[in-house]
């Protein structure tokens, strides 16, 4: 008699579920990805990386990979959308089909439509819209890989792309989310933490004007907790703001240093 070897059952291709981890934060207050509660994911930003766009920027924040491009100010097409006294800001937040675990259809989802709106409303206060009547400024945000907090990272690069395009701005807009996970208040939630946690609060800030331009929340927070999470998110935004400024200067500082060395 011989034993028929057991065939490994084939996982269904669809509906492969990530096993939900038991705990997202361990007893030493260390998160699954090794971060402290109030620690940002590692952030890398490049500005002016697309040749055709008037302005562009790219961010890698943790596993997020997001690209932003700006075209404008330019003539509005279709013409009837032009406003006589200001520019029209249009914004499109879109996720690539391969950006998430289960392929996402390229057609704009309701979530993308809502996010396009709130992102536009987050960056518009930073632009002097009255300077260029009868024009449009188009902002495109493409999420190439998503791991939670994409609308915030998207705002961060969109703001840099606008600055890169030479569009006059009041301030850069930096964005970051904070929330509550496993009972702890944390900064910069990744996808697992957002889905498994108790609250997520994305926020965008123009630092020098103390102006909050994006504020959303879903979850469950007492008013006290809310105040703490709000403060944490603002702290995160200010850290991102520093990275933004450095990235913007980097293009020019490198040249200056090279020249001074000669």
């Amino acid at each position: 008699m011989f034993k028929i070897p057991k065939r490994k059952t084939e996982k269904k291709r669809l509906g492969i579920l990530q096993k939900k981890p038991e705990k997202l934060i361990d007893k030493n207050n260390v998160r699954l990805d090794g971060r402290k509660l109030d620690e940002l994911r590692s952030v890398k930003i490049g500005v002016g990386i697309l040749a055709n766009a008037d302005g562009s920027a790219y961010i890698e924040q943790g596993k997020n990979k997001i690209l932003a491009a700006v075209y404008g100010p330019k003539e509005v097409h279709p013409r009837h959308l032009a406003l006589p006294d200001r520019t029209v800001l249009r914004c499109r937040y879109h996720m690539a089909p391969f950006s998430v675990q289960e392929r996402k259809s390229p057609a704009p989802s309701r979530r993308e439509i809502e996010l396009s709106k709130v992102i536009r409303e987050a960056i518009e206060p930073s632009i002097f819209v009255e300077y260029y009547p009868r024009t449009s400024i188009d902002v495109f945000i493409e999420v190439l890989q998503a791991d939670g907090g994409t609308r915030c990272a998207g705002i961060t690069v969109a703001s840099l792309a606008l600055a890169d395009a030479g569009i006059p701005m009041r301030d850069l807009v930096a964005a970051c989310a904070a929330g509550k996970v496993d009972g702890h208040l944390v900064l910069d939630l990744n996808d697992l933490e957002d889905k498994g946690g108790e609250a997520d609060l994305p926020l965008a800030l123009m630092s020098n004007l103390n102006a909050i331009t994006l504020l959303q929340m879903d979850g469950d927070l007492t008013v006290n907790e809310f105040e703490q999470v709000l403060n944490l998110a603002v702290k995160g935004c200010k850290e991102i703001y520093t990275v933004q400024k450095d990235a913007l200067k980097a293009k020019y500082v490198a040249v200056k240093e090279a020249v001074e060395e000669e």
């Binding site: 309701r110 409303e121 929340m217 709000l230």
Partner: protein, 266 residues
């Protein structure tokens, strides 16, 4: 898209002036809601329904219950889906067509309030785990737009859900057999949305249409029955300071309590 201001500058200035003196054009205080009128059970074909009149803003919500498959990651829970129609008859600004970004935002904010507060006991909507659950369709129909669609829609949705009855059933040989009688939709929380507008640096609750055209930004906070915040959404082209946001949170808790009595206490 960018809204263009359609009321005369003189009127805008008057509204802003009044508000800096703590008064509004319709004589309300900064923290006063318009009158709320509520009717439930008006559409017999729907499993639940309600109509809210908030001042002249009118929103109707119909609830339909169907049987469907659960999401794979939550096989024991029912499904909630919220849709909003800004029907053209409600306002000269609404055009026929699929939901635009405003309709979608409205639907998602109302949805968030219900979902995050766990207002509906979703596990009790499970029929056969992993296979069959109840799907709750919340359809928000805006009938007249006179400002603050979010709060009116959220109230109407809550009232409609409280009014909803699901038919009784029995599972025989893997088939669902409908029995006599109904059960109330199992509810565990009663979320209320409170929306503020910022005009001339001051916060006012329940902005009506004229104020919405003058405001530069709005902030909605949805509060559950324990006074906790379960959803928040900033909208519009302006911004808030941190102090204003915290001030709004405190006022929202108060106002939510008052409004909840109207919706639940009826």
């Amino acid at each position: 898209m960018t809204p263009s201001i359609t009321i005369a500058k003189v009127k805008q200035r008057r509204i802003a002036e009044l508000i800096s003196h703590g008064k509004r054009l319709d004589e309300r205080g900064l923290n006063d809601y318009r009158e709320v009128q509520l009717e439930v059970g008006i559409i017999e074909r729907a499993e639940g329904s309600a109509r809210v009149r908030l001042g002249k803003t009118e929103v109707m919500v119909g609830i339909k219950i169907e049987i469907g498959t659960p999401f794979p990651d939550v096989p024991n829970e029912g499904v909630l889906t919220v849709n909003t129609e800004l029907v053209p008859l409600a306002s000269p600004k609404f055009e026929p067509g699929p939901p635009d970004e405003n309709a979608i935002e409205l639907a998602r904010v109302v949805d968030r309030g219900i979902r995050e507060s766990k207002a509906i006991s979703m596990e009790k909507l499970c029929i056969t785990p992993g296979k069959k659950v109840f799907i709750v369709f919340v359809d928000v129909y805006v009938l007249n737009h006179d400002g603050n669609l979010i709060d009116a829609s959220a109230m109407a949705a809550l009232a409609a859900l409280l009014n909803t009855k699901i038919f009784n059933y029995e599972i025989k040989d893997d088939e669902i057999e409908i029995k006599l009688g109904y059960t109330q939709l199992p509810m565990a929380d009663y979320p209320i949305a409170v929306t503020f507008a910022k005009i001339n640096g001051k916060l006012v609750v329940d902005p009506w249409l004229v104020e919405e055209q003058v405001m530069d930004v709005r902030l909605t906070m949805t509060i559950d029955k324990d006074g906790k915040i379960c959803a928040m959404q900033k909208g519009g082209y302006g911004y808030f300071s941190m102090e204003q946001v915290l001030e709004a949170a405190k006022i929202a808790q108060q106002k939510a309590e008052e409004l909840r009595k109207i919706v639940v206490g009826e």
